[in-house]
C-alpha cells in the first residue's frame, strides 16, 4: 500500500471485510497511513482472535508506518486487540477515540482479559498493566473538533449513535478525505440519538453493513414484541435470560423494561448481572450529553439511568424459585455469567433466552440461534436446550435504509462496504451504485483496494487579479467565458497566482516591449490629413465595438493601436499608413492592417 500523493488505498485487514468478526482497516491517504479500529474476534480463542499485523511489521515497526490509530467505539470487535497491538506488537503513536470510549474501553478490555486469562487460563494474553499502558497513548477527541494529527493529516469525529461515545471519523489530507463510519444507527432509540454527518463529500465512505439487506420494521413493533415475550414468560412463571454487553443495548432494554414494569405494576424481579451495572449506568449519567435529546433535556428532573425496578444480581439468585428477568454479560453467550445462567436454565421449557443482538459464528449464541438444540460443552458434556430461544434485533446498526441515508448525507465519490456478509453486501452494493451513481467496493479480508484521485491544486491568487476578473465577470457583455490570465509563481511549496505585471515586478525583471509598425500603401491623392480623416470614419463605422479616436495631431487610434498617414516619398498619388501596435495587441493590429489593405470605401468624400 503506497501513499503516493493523489492516490490512496486501503487494506481490509483480517476481519473487517466480509465478516462481522472484527474490525481493523488500514487506509493510506495522501502519503499518510491510518489504522481504523483494532478489533478482536469473539468466535476464536487462538491466534486468529487478533488481527495479523505482520503485513505491516514485516517491513518495519508499526510506529514508523502508522501515523495514527482511530477507534470508533468501545465494542471489543472494534477495540479488543488494542493492548495486544500497542504493547505486545509495539505501537507508540497516537490512538484517537472519544471521551466516553476512552472511559469505558479499558473496563471492557479488563473484563475480557479476566475471562480469558483467569477463567479460561489462556497464556500469552495482554496483562492489566498493558491495558493501562495502552490507554496512556490515547488522545481523546471531541465531536466535530478538528484534530491536527500532524501538519497535513487531520481527523474529525461525528456522532454515530450505536453505543455511548460511538463516532464516525473523517480523515483528511489536503483536499482528499475518507469517512469511516464504525458502527452507527440512523434512527434515535430510547437512549441514543441518530448518527449525523454533514455533506463533507469524501473521496471514499467506508461503511459497516451488518444489516445490509434488512429493512427493519419499526422500532416500536420490535419493542412491543419484546415486552410481550418477556411478559408472557414471566406470567407463566418462567425465567428470562437476556445476554447483553454491559454497556450499550443493555441500557436501552433496561429503560424499556423499567417503564413497562412501572406501567403494568409488575412484581417479578429484574436483575442486572455483574458489578458493571451500577458503574455502567454511572457512565451514562456522566456522559449524558452523548445520549438523545429527550434524556438530555430531562436529566435534571429525572435521570433515566437511575432504575427503581432493576437490582443487582447475585449468582445465588439463579436458583431462586419463581419468575425473574436477568440481564447478564456477555452478550453472545460465549463465556462468563450469561453462559453459566444459560446452562442452569436451558433445560426448562418454561424459561426463555432472548438474544438482543448479533452473535458471531462459533459462539453458543450463534449456535442456538441457528437452531442447534444439543450443545457440546466442555468435558464432552452435552447440554440439551429446551428453553424458548428468541432473537430480537436490538443492536443499533444501520439497516439498508439507514446506510443509504448516510451515503446521501455525506455524498461520497466512492463507497466501500465492510463488516457484513458477502451476499447481503452484494445486494446493497448494487443498490448504492444504482441510486447514487458512485462506485461501490466490497473487498474480501486481506484484500487491498486502490483508488486514484485527482485533487485540485490550491494556490493563492492575488486579490487584485481576482477582483479585476470578478468585476469584469459582472459586466453585461460577459456572455462567453472569460479567460483569466496570470503567472503562477512556484517557490518551494508556496504557489501564488499573480498578474503578469506583478510577477515581473516581484522577480525584479523589466518588461520587454515588442512593437510592430507596418506600412500599408493606400492609393489616395488627397492630403495626409484627409486620408487620416477617411481612415477614421471608415474604421469608426466598421469597428463599432472598439474605441476609435481621431487625435488632434492627425493620427487615429483604435484602442491602443496607432495609425498615422504619411506621404509617399516617390508617388504623390499614394499615401503610406503606418500602423503601430504592441505584441499584446497583436490580434487587433494584424486585423487592422488587413482591413486597411483592402482600401477605403469610395463613397467617403
Amino acid at each position: 500500500v503506497c501513499g503516493v500523493n493523489g492516490r490512496f488505498a486501503w487494506l481490509v485487514e483480517g476481519g473487517a471485510g466480509q465478516d462481522v468478526g472484527r474490525s481493523c482497516i488500514l487506509v493510506s491517504i495522501g502519503g499518510k497511513n491510518v489504522m481504523l479500529d483494532c478489533g478482536m474476534h469473539m468466535g476464536f480463542n487462538d491466534d486468529r482472535r487478533f488481527p495479523d499485523f505482520s503485513y505491516i511489521t514485516r517491513n518495519g515497526r508499526l510506529t514508523d508506518f502508522l501515523d495514527c490509530v482511530i477507534i470508533s467505539h468501545f465494542h471489543l470487535d472494534h477495540c479488543g486487540a488494542l493492548p495486544y497491538f500497542s504493547e505486545m506488537v509495539g505501537y507508540d503513536g497516537p490512538i484517537y477515540m472519544t471521551h466516553p470510549t476512552q472511559a469505558i474501553c479499558p473496563i471492557l478490555l479488563e473484563d475480557y482479559r479476566k475471562i480469558a486469562v483467569d477463567k479460561k487460563g489462556e497464556a500469552n494474553f495482554f496483562t492489566s498493566q498493558m491495558i493501562k499502558d495502552c490507554m496512556k497513548k490515547v488522545v481523546a477527541v471531541h465531536l466535530h473538533q478538528t484534530v491536527q494529527v500532524d501538519d497535513e493529516l487531520e481527523i474529525k469525529a461525528y456522532y454515530a449513535g450505536h453505543v455511548l461515545g460511538a463516532a464516525m471519523f473523517q480523515i483528511k489530507v489536503g483536499s482528499e478525505s475518507v469517512v469511516y463510519t464504525g458502527d452507527y444507527n440512523m434512527t434515535p432509540d430510547r437512549h441514543l440519538g441518530a448518527a449525523w454527518i454533514d455533506k463533507c463529500r469524501p473521496n471514499l465512505l467506508i461503511t459497516e453493513s451488518t444489516y445490509a439487506t434488512t429493512i427493519r420494521d419499526s422500532k416500536r413493533c420490535r419493542e412491543r414484541d419484546f415486552l410481550k415475550k418477556v411478559h408472557e414468560a414471566v406470567e407463566r412463571g418462567g425465567k428470562v435470560l437476556i445476554p447483553v454487553f454491559a454497556l450499550g443495548r443493555a441500557q436501552e432494554l433496561c429503560i424499556l423494561l423499567e417503564t413497562f414494569w412501572e406501567r403494568m405494576n409488575l412484581k417479578a424481579p429484574i436483575y442486572f448481572s455483574t458489578g458493571l451495572t451500577e458503574k455502567a449506568n454511572h457512565y451514562y449519567k456522566l456522559f449524558i450529553t452523548w445520549t438523545n435529546q429527550k434524556i438530555r433535556k430531562t436529566f435534571v428532573q429525572r435521570n433515566m439511568f437511575e432504575f427503581k425496578h432493576i437490582k443487582a444480581f447475585d449468582r445465588a439468585f439463579a436458583d431462586n424459585p419463581g419468575p425473574m428477568v436477568v440481564f447478564a454479560t456477555p452478550g453472545m453467550l460465549h463465556a462468563g455469567q450469561s453462559l453459566q445462567i444459560f446452562r442452569k436454565w436451558a433445560g426448562n421449557e418454561k424459561n426463555m433466552v432472548i438474544m438482543p443482538g448479533y452473535c458471531v459464528q462459533g459462539t453458543v449464541g450463534h449456535k442456538i440461534l441457528s437452531g442447534q438444540r444439543k450443545l457440546e460443552m466442555e468435558g464432552r458434556q452435552v447440554l440439551e436446550v429446551k428453553m424458548q430461544v428468541e432473537y430480537m434485533s436490538f443492536s443499533a446498526h444501520a439497516d439498508a435504509k439507514g446506510i443509504m441515508q448516510l451515503v446521501g448525507q455525506a455524498e461520497p465519490e466512492n463507497v466501500l462496504l465492510v463488516h457484513g456478509e458477502a451476499k447481503k453486501m452484494e445486494f446493497l452494493k448494487q443498490k448504492i451504485e444504482q441510486e447514487f451513481r458512485v462506485s461501490c467496493y466490497m473487498p474480501a479480508n486481506g484484500e487491498t483496494v486502490t483508488l486514484p484521485t485527482s485533487p485540485s491544486i490550491p494556490v493563492g491568487i492575488s486579490l487584485g487579479l481576482l477582483k479585476r476578473e470578478m468585476a469584469q465577470g459582472l459586466l453585461p457583455d460577459a456572455k462567453k467565458p472569460r479567460l483569466l490570465h496570470g503567472t503562477l509563481i512556484m517557490k518551494d511549496s508556496n504557489f501564488r497566482l499573480v498578474s503578469s505585471e506583478q510577477a515581473l515586478k516581484e522577480l525584479g525583471l523589466a518588461e520587454h516591449q515588442l512593437r510592430f509598425t507596418c506600412r500599408v500603401h493606400l492609393h489616395d491623392p488627397r492630403k495626409e490629413q484627409e486620408t487620416a480623416m477617411r481612415v477614421y470614419s471608415h474604421l469608426k463605422s466598421v469597428l463599432k465595438e472598439h474605441c476609435v479616436q481621431h487625435l488632434p495631431d492627425g493620427s487615429v487610434t483604435v484602442e491602443s493601436i496607432l495609425i498615422q498617414a504619411a506621404a509617399h516619398s516617390e508617388d504623390p498619388g499614394t499615401k503610406v499608413l503606418l500602423v503601430s501596435w504592441t505584441y499584446q495587441d497583436e490580434e487587433l493590429g494584424s486585423h487592422l492592417t488587413s482591413l486597411l489593405k483592402k482600401g477605403l470605401p469610395q463613397a467617403a468624400s
Partner: protein, 634 residues
C-alpha cells in the same frame, strides 16, 4: 458580532426588589431638588445620602444604533456571561443570523437568564419610573444618576419566551471545530480557560487571521486550560475581558474567603455570599469541601438558593469533556468531577429553588448562604441582607467582581453586619497578558481604551496597563476602528486538468513560473480555475456575418515579455532563416538591424524591440517568432 454582553451595573441605580414587603425600603423618603421641588419623589428615594430609582430595574444594552443589526450575519459568544443581552438583539432588531456558542455556554447561559427572569418576574412592581430619564431632569440629579450613560436606551428584563427564542438561534460548536461562514471565512472556538465552555475565537481566511481573546484565564481552576498555541500567527489580536481587579490575587482571595467565613460562623454569625449560580461557586464549594472538616465546620449547614441551583449543580457534573484534566480523569473512574456531589450526598450542602417552601423548615442558623443576585438588587439575597444586616455577628462576603461592593451595599445603609470584599476574578491580569503576548506574538493588538492606561484610581501604577510593541490600538463605545492589515491573497483551486497543461520554467534557482490562461468560476465564495474551452471551429454561415463579427476575441490576452535580445545571436538566427542581407548599425541605446531587401528595420534596445516592415503578415510573423525565441513570457 463578537459577544453580546449586558451591562447590569445600571441596576445599582435602582432600589432593591424585596421578596416580601420591606417596611424600611417602602418608608424611604422621596428625593426633592435643592429648591424643594418634590415632583420626582415618587420615582426617586433617598437612603443614607444616596438617591435610587424606585422602579423595575433596567439594563444597559449593547450599542444598537450604530449599525443596522439585521445586517449582522453571525454572533460569536465567548462565555455565558457574555450572552446576557442576546434576547434584546435577536428578538427586536430584525436579526436573522446565526449565533455560535459551545454547549456548556448555552446551557449555563440559559440558567443565568432563567434566574434573572425569575428574580425580576416573581416580584412584580406596579411602578415604572421614566420621568427621571428626561435629559433636562437627569442633569439636575446627584451622582451617579447624573452621569449614567444612555439611560434612554435602558430596558427592562426580557421574558422567558424571548430567552427561549433567542437560544433557539444558537448553533452548538465544539472547541477546535472549524466552522465555514459563507465560504469566505472560517471561525474556530478555542478553550479560554475561564469558565465551562468559555471560548476565544479565531476568525481567519486562508491568508489572514484575527484572534478574539475574551475572558481568558491561565489559572488552573475547573475548566479546560486555555489553548494558547492556536492563537499564534495572528495578524490582529483583539483582547478584552481582562480581570476587573488586577491587584487581587485569586488564590489569596479564596484563602481570605475561607478564613472570614470560618471566623464568622465560629462566633455564631451567619455568612452571606452573593453570587451567580455557576462559575466561581463551583471552585468555592470545592475549597470548602477540603476546608470544612479541618476548620471544624462540619456541622454548619451550607445553603445554595437559586431557582436554578439544582440544574447548575447537575449540569456541572455532565460536562466532563470541557473540564480540566484532573476532573476529566475522575469521570473515567467513574466519579462525579466536582466534589459538591459528595457535599450534597452527606447533607452538608443543601440547595433550594427559593426561600419559600422546604428551605424555611430546614433553615438553621448559624449557616452559610450562597445566593444571588450579586448586585444585591433582586433575588433572595435581598431578603438575607434585610434579615442579617442589623447584626454585627453576620458577614457578607463579596466574591463576584462585576459590581462595586460599596455601591451594591448603598441602599442597605446603615449596616451593622460585617462586609468583606474578596473579589475572585481568574481572568488575565496585566502580567499574564504581557506573557501571553510574548508567547503568541500577534502583529497588532486591539483592546478597549481602559486597558491602555492605568486605572484612574491608581494612575501611578504603570504596570496596570497593556504594554506591547507596536502599541495596542484602542477602541471605545460606538467608535469605528479600521484594523491594520491589507488583504492581498485569496485561495483558488486549479483543476487537475488545467494543472497538467501548465508548463513551468525555472526563472531563478528554486523559483519556477508558469503562465496561466484559464476560466474563472466562482461559487459560494469559492474560486476555481478551469481549462479554457477549446477554440470553436468557424461555422458555415460565415458569409452572412459582417466584418465586425470576425474581430477576434481580443480578451485572449497575450503574455507580457521579458529579457533582452543578444544582437549577434539574433543576426545569426536571421541568417539561418534565410535573410541574407542583414546589416547591423549601432545606436546610442542599442542596435538597428536592417533587412534591406525586405525594407525592414528592427530596432533592438535593452527593454524593447520594434519591428518596422511593410504590410507583409508572413514576414512579420516570421520575425516575431524569431524575436520571441529570445524572450520569456509572463
Amino acid at each position: 458580532m463578537l459577544d453580546c454582553g449586558l451591562d447590569m451595573t445600571s441596576t445599582l441605580n435602582f432600589l432593591p426588589l424585596p421578596l416580601v414587603q420591606s417596611p424600611r425600603l417602602s418608608n424611604l423618603p422621596g428625593w426633592s431638588l435643592k429648591d424643594g421641588n418634590a415632583f420626582l419623589d415618587k420615582e426617586l428615594k433617598e437612603c443614607s445620602g444616596h438617591v435610587f430609582v424606585d422602579s423595575v430595574p433596567e439594563f444597559c444594552l449593547p450599542e444598537t444604533e450604530l449599525i443596522d443589526l439585521s445586517t449582522v450575519d453571525v454572533i460569536l459568544i465567548s462565555n455565558y456571561h457574555c450572552m446576557m443581552a442576546l434576547p434584546y438583539i435577536t428578538e427586536h432588531t430584525g436579526f436573522t443570523g446565526t449565533v455560535y456558542a459551545t454547549e456548556p455556554t448555552v446551557q449555563i447561559g440559559r440558567l443565568l437568564m432563567e434566574e434573572l427572569v425569575n428574580f425580576i418576574e416573581r416580584v412584580p412592581k406596579a411602578q415604572s419610573a421614566s420621568l427621571w430619564k428626561n435629559k433636562d431632569i437627569q442633569r439636575l440629579l446627584p451622582s451617579p444618576l447624573k452621569d449614567a450613560v444612555e439611560v434612554s436606551t435602558w430596558r427592562r428584563c426580557y421574558t422567558m419566551q424571548e430567552v427561549n427564542s433567542a437560544l433557539s438561534k444558537i448553533q452548538l460548536v465544539g472547541y477546535s471545530q472549524k466552522i465555514e461562514l459563507f465560504g469566505a471565512v472560517q471561525v474556530t472556538p478555542l478553550s479560554s480557560g475561564y469558565a465551562l465552555g468559555s471560548s476565544n475565537w479565531i476568525i481567519q481566511s486562508h491568508y489572514e487571521k484575527v484572534s478574539y481573546v475574551s475572558g481568558s484565564s491561565l489559572l488552573t481552576t475547573h475548566p479546560q486550560p486555555m489553548d494558547q498555541a492556536s492563537l499564534k500567527n495572528s495578524d490582529v489580536l483583539v483582547l478584552t475581558g481582562l480581570t476587573q481587579i488586577p491587584t487581587a490575587n485569586p488564590d489569596g482571595m479564596v484563602g481570605e474567603f475561607c478564613s472570614n467565613l470560618a471566623l464568622t460562623v465560629r462566633n455564631g454569625g451567619n455568612v452571606l455570599v452573593p453570587c451567580y449560580p455557576s462559575g466561581v461557586i463551583y471552585d468555592l464549594l470545592e475549597c470548602l469541601y477540603q476546608y470544612i472538616d479541618s476548620a471544624g465546620l462540619s456541622n454548619i449547614p451550607f445553603y445554595f438558593i437559586s431557582p436554578v441551583a439544582n440544574s447548575s449543580l447537575e449540569f456541572s457534573q455532565i460536562f466532563a469533556e470541557w473540564l480540566c484534566h484532573n476532573k476529566q480523569t475522575k469521570v473515567y473512574l467513574p466519579e462525579p468531577p466536582f466534589p459538591h456531589a459528595e457535599l450534597i450526598q452527606t447533607n452538608k450542602l443543601k440547595h433550594y429553588p427559593s426561600l419559600h417552601g422546604d428551605f424555611s423548615s430546614d433553615f438553621r442558623q448559624p449557616c452559610v448562604v450562597f445566593t444571588g443576585h450579586p448586585s444585591l438588587r433582586f433575588g433572595d439575597v435581598v431578603h438575607f441582607m434585610e434579615l442579617w444586616g442589623k447584626s454585627s455577628l453576620n458577614t457578607v462576603i463579596f466574591t463576584e467582581p462585576d459590581f462595586s461592593y460599596l455601591e451594591a451595599l448603598a441602599p442597605y445603609q446603615p449596616l451593622a453586619m460585617k462586609c468583606i470584599y474578596c473579589p475572585i476574578d481568574t481572568r488575565l491580569n496585566f502580567i499574564q497578558v504581557s506573557k501571553l503576548l510574548k508567547e503568541v506574538q500577534p502583529l497588532h493588538v486591539v483592546c478597549p481604551e481602559q486597558y491602555t492606561q492605568p486605572p484612574p484610581a491608581q494612575s501611578h501604577r504603570m504596570d496596570l496597563m497593556i504594554d506591547c510593541q507596536p502599541p495596542a490600538m484602542s477602541y471605545r463605545r460606538a467608535e469605528v476602528l479600521a484594523l491594520p492589515f491589507k488583504r492581498r491573497y485569496e485561495k483558488i483551486e486549479i483543476m487537475p486538468e488545467l494543472a497538467d497543461s501548465l508548463v513551468p520554467m525555472e526563472i531563478k534557482p528554486g523559483i519556477s513560473l508558469a503562465t496561466v490562461s484559464a476560466v474563472l468560476h466562482t461559487k459560494d465564495n469559492k474560486h476555481v480555475l478551469q481549462p479554457p474551452p477549446r477554440p470553436t471551429q468557424p461555422t458555415g454561415g460565415k458569409k452572412r456575418k459582417r466584418a465586425s463579427d470576425d474581430i477576434p476575441d481580443c480578451k485572449v490576452l497575450k503574455p507580457l515579455l521579458s529579457g533582452s535580445i543578444p544582437v549577434e545571436q539574433f543576426v545569426q538566427a536571421l541568417e539561418k532563416h534565410g535573410f541574407s542581407d542583414v546589416k547591423v548599425e549601432d545606436t546610442a541605446k542599442g542596435h538597428i538591424v536592417l533587412l534591406q531587401e525586405a525594407e525592414t528595420l528592427i530596432q533592438i534596445e535593452e527593454d524593447s524591440t520594434h519591428i518596422i516592415c511593410d504590410n507583409d503578415e508572413m514576414l512579420r510573423v516570421r520575425l516575431r517568432d524569431l524575436v520571441l525565441k529570445f524572450l520569456q513570457k509572463f
